[in-house]
Symmetry: C2
Subunit: 114 residues, 2 copies
DNA sequence: GGATCATATTCCAATAACGGAATATGTCAA
DNA sequence: TTGACATATTCCGTTATTGGAATATGATCC
């Protein structure tokens, strides 16, 4: 029984490197499928399939214009991932007994941790 | 050819719901395998297998004490996920033409976005 | 050593994800 | 309508992943 009945959730969809690439590519601007194929150097059917997965999970929006389909990343849908990873943020400093990691923290914010 | 040769990377390892649960459970405190089994109500072999995946990817640390193995989440290893998701943070507000999403933002922190 | 506890590994069956090739669907132009 | 273009879907083979049961490994205690 592979993964939880497959890419039914965002985490699963994002487990694929190519899909992550696509999401990044589509984040700043909407693009036609052909552009994705060209930019990421993937086979067209492959891109369509990845896009379907991303669509099913709500990670991208689509718009049709003539015979082209314009995709765009739905950045809101990525929040669950951000938030999940954020759970561990408060432990950032607790673990490395070295205090030096303090320096590499960008701006942290979020207060809280001991 | 499923996923990129498997849980060779963090994103893949985290695609499994149970593994995410385990990581959260082990974030604040190290725990013996038996505790994980009891707390998450999973079969022992299953837990051992998930732990192996997490170990291989560096998402957990292990320590042996007698016949028990104490696992603990390596929170540092989760940063790549945080950072990847962070790529989209700057687009947070750009997308929803409705301004109302402004209201549902909890406290965000992390400064930055427009 | 032998028994027992704690965890890891192996074997198995079921499932599905992925890539590639071929083909289908849909849209526009003439 | 026919033809070309853009994208989607289907089919196929390969490979992993997962859970479950059984078993193996390692450590402690007697």
């Amino acid at each position: 029984m592979p993964r939880s009945t497959a890419a039914a959730d965002v985490f699963n969809a994002v487990a694929e490197p190519r899909r992550r690439d696509i999401l990044v590519y589509l984040a700043s601007q909407e693009r036609a499928v052909g552009d994705i194929v060209a930019a990421l150097e993937l086979a067209q059917p492959s891109v369509s399939k990845h896009l379907k997965v991303l669509r099913d999970v709500g990670l991208v929006h689509v718009r049709r214009d003539g015979r082209q389909m314009f995709y765009r990343t739905n950045v809101e849908a990525i929040r669950p991932i951000q938030e999940w990873a954020g759970i561990f943020e408060r432990f950032w400093g607790h673990q490395l007994s070295r205090v030096k990691e303090r320096a590499e923290r960008p701006s942290s914010g979020k207060g809280g941790n001991a």
